[in-house]
């Protein structure tokens, strides 16, 4: 009951934000729409019993990444001339068609699933920080530690690339 009542509006927010991102000519507006979409998505995550991920979604995505985006947009200081005008080219047509086709196909796939009902009962602490943490620092230790390398690489890479001179 509550799940449905929350899900559909939030889904709408997520989709709407995403579409808004596509539709807005100004990238800053786009970024804002995207943040909106992320909030919607995070809410759905909560519905999916993934509180930690929902929190991370807000913190990392809406908080860090999008700020970074906006920061970059501001840094680059684009003016009105740089705003693109929507055009119809073979590329856009094919691209849009591909996206649409994909979505259609996905319907086919998902409707084919044998078990459509979500379990109502979930294990204790499912999606909670503690249990996810135990998982990540336990069995997932190898990929997790690799992620640390990944982040280090990203840092070094970003510095190398963004430094003004070599």
């Amino acid at each position: 009951m509550t799940e449905a009542m929350l899900f559909y509006p939030m889904a709408l927010v997520a989709i709407g934000g995403a579409l808004g991102m596509i539709a807005s000519r100004n990238p800053v507006h786009g970024a804002m729409y995207l943040v909106l979409s992320f909030f919607g998505i995070a809410s759905v995550y909560v519905l999916l019993a993934a509180e930690l991920i929902a929190a991370l979604q807000i913190i990392v995505y809406a908080g860090a990444i999008m700020v970074l985006f906006v920061f970059v947009i501001m840094l680059l200081n684009l003016n009105e001339d740089d705003l693109e005008r929507p055009r119809l080219t073979p590329g856009t047509i094919f691209g849009g068609a591909a996206a649409l086709a994909f979505w259609m196909i996905s319907f086919m796939v998902f409707s084919d699933l044998p078990d459509q009902t979500m379990p109502t009962e979930l294990p204790e602490g499912f999606g909670q920080v503690a249990s996810v943490g135990r998982l990540i620092f336990g069995p997932f230790i190898v990929p997790f530690e690799s992620t640390s390398i990944l982040l280090l690489v990203a840092m070094v890479g970003a510095i190398v690339v963004a430094k003004p001179r070599i």
Partner: protein
Amino acid sequence: MPKYSSADILGLAPALVLIVGALTLLLLEVFQESEKRGYQAWFTAIVAAIASLVALPMLDGEAHRILLTQDGLFFAVADRFGGAMAIVVAAGLALSALTAGAFLGARKAERGEFYALAMFAASGMVLLAQATDLLMIFVALEIMSISTYALAAYLRRGMRTTEAAFKYFILGAFSTALYIYGVALVYGATGGQTGLQQVAEAASEGSLLLMAGVAFVAAGFFFKVAAAPFHMWTPDVYEGAPTPVTAFMAAGVKAAAFAALFRVFTVAFGSEDVALHGWMNVVVVLAILTMVVGNLLAIPQRSVKRLLAYSSIAHAGYLMAAIAAAANPEVRAAAGEGLLYYLATYTFAGIGAFAVVAALERQGAEGPLMWDLDRFAGLARVRPALAMAMGLFLLSLAGIPPTAGFMGKLLIFRAAVDAKLYGLVIFGVLTSLVGVYYYLRVVVYMYMREREPSVGELPAPRLAMGVALALAAIGTLILGIVPGFFGEIARASTLALGG
């Protein structure tokens, strides 16, 4: 909770060695004065050598599942396949690093970060080859990719470099998204599994959901290995990136991606239903397409670098043939042997060829003229050894005996014939004939044309480059003339993969 043991550390040793090497360089860089960076390339090569040394124990013995949990979860494995790939990757790293040492040295652009990123990338590649979980593969793939994005953009003053990095990045991110979405679908289809073996157990029959997942995972991999039609970034990126990076990308990235692709497709998606009646036909078609496109489009190129880029696409096509053959469980071992052998040969010959391009690259000019065929004209007179080495690499790439490339092709075509993919093989040999044409064109320029003064001076020869070329040449010859040695390793490693 997994139990730790020293074997787990030893199993990850090659990657760890590379990471430690990278960190060491980063630390040293802080205290570095600009003129004294010549050692960095050698250091990297030595680290690579150590990494391959510590990978040696993996070559004989049982596969060790790293940090195996009670649930049977494990994310990486120390097996022969991983060990062999680690050695190939380390060889690629060492050769590219030495090439880069000469290349960057000549451009006064040596920085520790470069080699550190290269080593990080290599560690990603090693992990990729050892990874046994779709998520672990995802992470390793990203370590490798993000390092190479940065490496591609390394000489950012050049317009082309940033463009190349940009293209690589955008499309790479796109392919990552495809891949991870595919993993998510597989996860769903298997009732919440991402480990390769668990996936295999849960999904011996191809449900729609699973096949959709496979499709996206495959698309992600096809991008990384530059299989047509996911190849279009390759020529641009390879041309724009600094040449040593290109070499590293062409050999290392591709090798690691193919290793992971092979492991995923044979272990996780290797059941008859999913493989033989599932992805095989698509891979066959893509292999043919890749061979055709790569070889065909290399023909009109005048820039040798771009030519080699297209040729690397073509080689991806041959490797795809091995993947296609691996769909058949009976020939999986042979296909893996061919794949591994081919990767090794391409590592030497491909990097060698790009290294020669790097050695000849015209400084101070922008545009395709930097690597124009005219730069190669009369090379045999001016630098006979360089020309001979290039000739050797090209012959190997063309698959002409007694170079390594021939043995690689032989093994791959053998596997394809075993799998009864005759059309694929015939396409393979015919397109490799086309390949011979453009490789020969370079030889023609080197040996049969006179040098025009207008193409500019050649850069001075450098020791690191010489060593890199010599090593690559020796590797190319040894793999061609004494194939048994590495062939046995390749065979044993893929047999153990559970074909």
